[in-house]
Symmetry: C2
Subunit: 163 residues, 2 copies
């Protein structure tokens, strides 16, 4: 369901686009929000076209298919945004390592947390490159505050483990 919404939202926000374009967006701006590769996106667009949520507007060079959102698609998107209570499904390998930290020796645990911290630092660097306005600006801010919280946790935990 959410993959559909993400695709509809992108088409609504950036206008007509190909599956390839949409896949690129997932890789970059949508990366910290929802993940999907082209192998999931292409078939989904076909299904959505069958359901009348999007339509192929034109076919360009190299078999490029430009999809547009239909009025029905816009309605579906709007309803979801306004009415859907977001489900919280956490599946974080980082949190899992944090959970199991007490099973390790102190020095091993320190090494693990340092690696986690490095991961957060890398994500921070990526997020800081995001534009400060346009669609996705609010999501980028949310992502930033999450990563900063993670970094603070890492520092705190390291201090705790070293004591």
């Amino acid at each position: 369901m959410s993959l559909r919404i993400a695709l509809l939202g992108l088409l609504e926000a950036i206008g007509p686009a190909s599956g390839y374009d949409l896949a690129k967006k997932f890789e970059h701006s949508l990366n910290h929000v929802w993940q999907a590769g082209h192998t999931q996106i292409y078939p989904e667009l076909v299904k959505m076209a069958a359901d009348g949520l999007v339509a192929v507007e034109s076919e360009g060079a190299r078999g490029r298919k430009i999809y547009t959102i239909t009025p029905e698609g816009t309605r579906e998107l709007h309803t979801w945004l306004v009415e859907h209570q977001p489900a919280v499904t956490v599946r974080s390998e980082t949190a899992l390592q944090a959970f199991l930290l007490p099973l390790l020796d102190t020095d091993e645990a320190i090494a693990v947390v340092e690696r986690i911290r490095t991961g957060f630092e890398e994500r921070l660097a990526v997020l800081q490159c995001h534009p400060k306005d346009g669609v996705g600006a609010y999501a980028a801010k949310l992502g930033l505050s999450h990563v900063r919280a993670g970094l603070a946790w890492a520092e705190e935990t390291l201090a705790d483990l070293r004591r």
Copy 2:
């Protein structure tokens, strides 16, 4: 893979347990870290037993099967904790709504963010009930800081939208 690790980690941390016990743990302490229902856990334990990572220690009343982690399971768990670089796969409906916020009218957007804030408040209340020590204490702290960051984002965004 991570489901296995979570199960091994729980068996290592709390000692021998049944699938049912493990499912309960997922529902409560592991809830903000990794999610899995009994329909996923039971078959996975069977596979893990076939792979020699866990073993059925005894069978109790009502067909209750007590699983123990084997030395091989402990090894597998330890290796993953120490060597595995956690993958970051974000799939957050909340972040998706945040991403698409600019597609809504201001008053609709405000309502959406208020609902998101309520969600964070509920999670905060749950996390604050978690014990402050034992396995999972570090993960609980990480979860708390994530939720607090989310709450701060919601407040900030509401202020921004109302301006």
